[in-house]
Symmetry: C2
């Protein structure tokens, strides 16, 4: 499927953005593996866009840290190290933790968004599509961040979420771990939501921290296994 075909159906976005989206999905689905060198000329012919447009798309992905760019050498799909995971999750735990501390003075709208996100996660788990589950999971956590009520922090967390989704998709073992236990996953999230409902910022903060920490350990373990 070329980018060209997509444009015909829906042209809501620049060509570079659409190409970036396609590449992002391909990388997420494992069709392009970490470490792969993405050559501008190759992608240009493959997707029937100019080399310049490819450059722009790669630039966007580089900003999301999905790929790394090296001047005059090329851009390669990021290979996660244990340090990457730890840094990523330190950021996540920090933000979610402080967001949860706002549970005792959360707005009605924010709570409603949390409820909504939880319902989506619930039906996604019922559906059973792992890709969907991970997406909805992260959307729930994005909703938690929303209680900080800062657009800039929301955007920042969205970037982080992309990276986490990438890390999860690459490390299949951890990925399965997160989707093979639907009941526990749901229960953990419901516990967090419940703390928000009660306005119990103390336990909300502890729960999100522990939740994130669990995944961090899983991913770090998976990445050191993959490195060897």
């Amino acid at each position: 499927m070329t980018v060209f075909e997509r444009r015909s159906t829906l042209s809501r976005g620049t060509t570079a953005e659409e190409l970036a989206a396609v590449l992002r999905e391909m990388i997420m689905r494992g069709e392009i593996k970490p470490g792969t060198l993405l050559r501008e000329e190759t992608l240009s012919t493959q997707f029937e866009v100019s080399r310049r447009t490819v450059k722009e798309a790669l630039s966007k992905l580089a900003h999301e840290r999905i790929v790394r760019h090296y001047r005059h050498k090329g851009t390669q799909v990021t290979k996660f190290t244990a340090a990457d995971i730890r840094d990523l999750y330190r950021a996540r735990k920090t933000l979610e933790g402080v967001a949860a501390q706002a549970a005792d003075h959360i707005s009605a709208i924010q709570l409603q968004r949390l409820e909504h996100a939880f319902e989506n996660l619930k039906s996604a788990i019922a559906g059973g599509d792992p890709v969907d589950v991970v997406a909805r999971d992260l959307e729930f956590h994005q909703a938690i961040i929303g209680s900080i009520e800062s657009e800039r922090i929301d955007d920042f967390f969205a970037d982080i979420a992309v990276e986490m989704r990438f890390a999860l998709s690459v490390l299949e073992s951890a990925y399965n771990e997160s989707t093979d236990r639907p009941d526990e996953t749901l229960a953990e999230h419901e516990a967090i939501l419940d703390a928000f409902r009660r306005g119990d910022s103390e336990s909300a903060s502890n729960l999100v921290y522990a939740h994130a920490h669990t995944y961090e350990l899983l991913l770090v373990e998976a990445v050191v296994a993959a490195e060897s």
Copy 2:
């Protein structure tokens, strides 16, 4: 001064990056005012670079929120609203607050960085150059963020810092306010540093929060004055 001349002296960076740097400085210094439309063709001839390169530079600045891009219409220098300032400072207070909470288990290296940043701020204030003072001030706060020990959060705060520097430079009244009281500015920062030295995370957190809040009010006041 064209970008071309800069390249001859030191070519550490792409042309687009250098152009972005030049434009950023011009905007910061008020040579290009908020609301100004930046036309690609104009900049292209003015700085003797291709339109394509101009596009890239503007794209970078847009990501820093210094300019806003509208498809097929152009990019204009951002005009700060009160809402922007509040969002910006909510992010800042959140991050600095949580960073200060780590004061009780800060690493020796981080404390040393704080001390170093404070010394720089001290001599900048003694020097009396407002531009330098603001830069060193923000570097001190960047050092505070460092105690979270997350590269991604450091980068995020660096973006925020650029915006704050921009906001300060635009709103001259608030700008002067911050540099016309050298003794108080120094004292406030020293109090924060002292809390870190003592490992008193409680007061460190309160101090940075209050410090940021003071500036927030100043800037909001300045921006509503400018809007009328």
